[in-house]
């Protein structure tokens, strides 16, 4: 169990709020589409803070201008990976930005294993820190058994 004030992993734009309803998610998607962003659905079973590359559930939807289409992809991803972390990411291709403009979680496992901090005593009083993702204690493919 994660014991931080939010009681869960707090990555993304809205982790401190109650889970967004699908209607609320659609409003955020709409906002991004109006800005010209391309949405992408990504999932993982290892939300380590430096696990940059979650799996892509298909490619970013560059030509999709309708929030309903993005929501459909999200539903597909949730059906396929119901116990994974899923996030929506919006890409902005404007010169000088060319990066991610929005990112928030839209699915989590019921049980979030969280992380341990491994301290390796080093020279003098220095310590080398490793953040260990408990999810990875089980082999890939066997992590969502809860």
């Amino acid at each position: 169990m994660i014991t931080n004030p939010a009681g869960r992993i707090t990555q993304g734009q809205f982790s401190f709020l109650p889970d967004l309803t699908d209607a609320e998610i659609a409003l955020q998607v709409e906002y991004g589409l109006n800005k010209g962003y391309a949405w992408s659905v990504e999932y993982t079973d290892d939300p380590h803070p430096r696990n940059t590359y979650w799996e892509m559930f298909g490619m970013p939807m560059f030509d999709l201008r309708d929030a309903a289409g993005v929501m459909l992809e999200l539903q597909n991803c949730r059906r396929t990976f119901p116990r994974h972390y899923i996030r929506l990411m919006a890409f902005d291709s404007t010169r000088g930005v060319e990066s991610i403009a929005m990112s928030f979680m839209v699915n989590r496992p019921q049980h979030e294993p969280g992380f341990g901090l491994v301290r390796q005593e080093s020279r003098g009083r220095s310590i080398r820190y490793t953040i260990h993702s408990y999810a990875t204690d089980a082999p890939e493919g066997e992590r969502d058994g809860d």
Binding site: P5, F16, L17, L117, I127
Partner: protein
């Protein structure tokens, strides 16, 4: 008006023999005033606000500013004739009275690109704000704004990380970042200090921050601080699953000391180090190079800037300092809050933010921006709003500054009645609620207080924060506002 001034004056002496006869000439006779001059794309252009001594003609004063900030000395020297001297003379080409303020004038001065060493703010500032600021015929002079030509911009490397890459490294997008300065500023031991950092970060802040005057005093030596802080940072990261950071201030007596401290911060795995503005331009550029080599975000605390940016008639506007710092290469820059405890008219402060974040800054007189500025793809600086702000102002802050800003609530986090974690939670919930509402199309400027009240229904720390600080505001008249002109200027 400008034409009337010009007609009453004298112009450059073209006959070389007369021009270089030993003796004293007026600056405008020496060639520092040219009303017909059309600035080149490669010229640096400065806008000075000048207050000539009584009886000194404003055009002559403008010419003197051009002269004293480039090649002039008080008397004619024959050695000028060994050089292509006209290139080296800055040229005042326009003078206008400041609207509504008697005795003050705006003077436009152009500088050829040969005048400044490539990639050196120290060299550029030694000319532009050197001798000229002590020049007797002027009661006061202020550098209001500067247009730096693309050709010169490209000689600088700029921010080592930039706000786009910073977000990628931190994995934080689509919302302002949250921070807090560890308090009290002075007296905490390393161990106590790390406690504050841990509580703030675990509670939901992205960054904690050393204050500007935390270096290595008797109560806490720098190595001790770094060690405890990094334990707090890593522990909070594991507790939340987020990348966290704490600006480790590496400001020290010598540059060598600063390198040593920065190296230790790197060894411990910090994502960010910090320097104070008082370390000076060359040190800033050196630390920027160091940060570039070591994948480090460089935070700039503008300690001391008020001594020369605040008074309207004398000094250097912060918008100019911000431009120089973007060229010199910092990633974070304190740029004002508009609504907090420190000086800043909202429009003027937005002008500073534009300078930090624009790809191309447009001339915008109400925001104090007198020139178009092409940043030539130079990376962008993340502005930092810090000083007397709290969760109850979240709608105003988001409305004024948008997403690309670090909002720092020091007292507003650490002074929370239920503790530091609760303070951090209140700020994070207020922030996320406001971003969500704005994206949903709500009018946050007007509905902000209601949005916060509703969020406080599911978040008691936010309710406590609103109860404690909801009514606090700092409404004083700003000393530095834009005296913008309604007339079009030459550039």
């Amino acid at each position: 008006m400008a034409q009337a001034i010009e007609k009453s004056g004298q112009t450059a002496i073209k006959d070389a023999k007369k021009r270089y006869t030993a003796g004293v000439l007026k600056y405008r006779q020496m060639g520092y005033w040219d009303a017909d001059y059309v600035p080149k794309d490669t010229d640096t252009i400065c806008l000075f606000r000048i207050t000539p001594q009584d009886g000194v003609d404003p055009v002559e004063a403008a010419a003197a500013v051009a002269g004293e900030s480039s090649t002039a000395t008080w008397t004619v020297v024959w050695t000028d004739r060994l050089t292509a001297c006209d290139s080296y003379r800055a040229k005042a080409y326009q003078v206008e009275p400041v609207p509504g303020i008697a005795g003050q004038f705006f003077a436009w001065v152009a500088y050829d690109i040969i005048l400044f060493e490539e990639g050196s703010i120290a060299n550029m500032t030694a000319s532009l704000i050197g001798n000229v600021f002590s020049f007797k015929p002027l009661k006061a002079v202020r550098l209001e704004d500067i247009r730096i030509p693309v050709a010169y911009v490209k000689t600088f490397k700029g921010p080592p990380t930039g706000l786009i890459v910073e977000r990628e490294r931190l994995d934080k997008f689509g919302r302002p970042l949250l921070g807090a300065t560890t308090k009290p500023k002075l007296g905490l031991s390393g161990r106590n200090y790390g406690r504050v950092v841990y509580e703030g970060l675990k509670g939901g802040l992205d960054f904690m921050k050393d204050d500007e005057n935390i270096n290595s005093q008797p109560f806490m030596h720098w190595r001790d601080r770094f060690l405890y802080v990094m334990d707090a940072v890593n522990k909070a990261s594991a507790a939340t699953g987020e990348v966290k950071g704490s600006y480790l201030n590496v400001t020290a007596a010598t540059v060598e000391d600063m390198y040593e401290r920065a190296e230790f911060a790197k060894e411990l795995g910090s994502v960010i180090v910090m320097v104070d503005l008082v370390v000076g331009w060359s040190t800033i550029q050196s630390m920027s190079n160091w940060a570039r080599r070591n994948d480090m975000i460089l935070h700039m605390h503008r300690a001391g800037h008020g001594t020369y940016t605040r008074q309207k008639n004398h000094g250097v506007s912060f918008r100019v300092i911000a431009k120089w710092l973007r060229l010199a290469g910092v990633d974070h820059l304190h740029a004002g809050t508009a609504v907090g405890k420190l000086e800043g008219d909202p429009m003027t402060v937005q002008g500073y933010y534009n300078v930090c974040r624009d790809s191309y800054t447009r001339r915008d007189l109400p925001r104090g921006l007198y020139f178009d500025q092409d940043w030539a793809d130079l990376r962008k600086v993340m502005p930092v709003a810090s000083g007397g702000i709290h969760a109850g102002q979240m709608h105003q802050l988001l409305d004024l500054f948008g997403d690309d800003v670090v909002l720092q609530f020091g007292g507003g986090t650490i002074g929370h009645p239920a503790g530091i974690q609760a303070g951090a939670v209140a700020n994070r919930v207020a922030l996320e609620s406001m971003v969500k509402a704005r994206n949903e199309g709500r009018d946050i400027r007007n509905e902000g207080p209601e949005i916060l009240r509703r969020a406080a229904k599911f978040c008691s720390p936010l309710q406590q924060a609103l109860d404690t600080w909801g009514e606090i505001s700092f409404n004083y008249t700003s000393t530095d506002t834009s005296d913008y002109m309604v007339t079009e200027s030459a550039i």
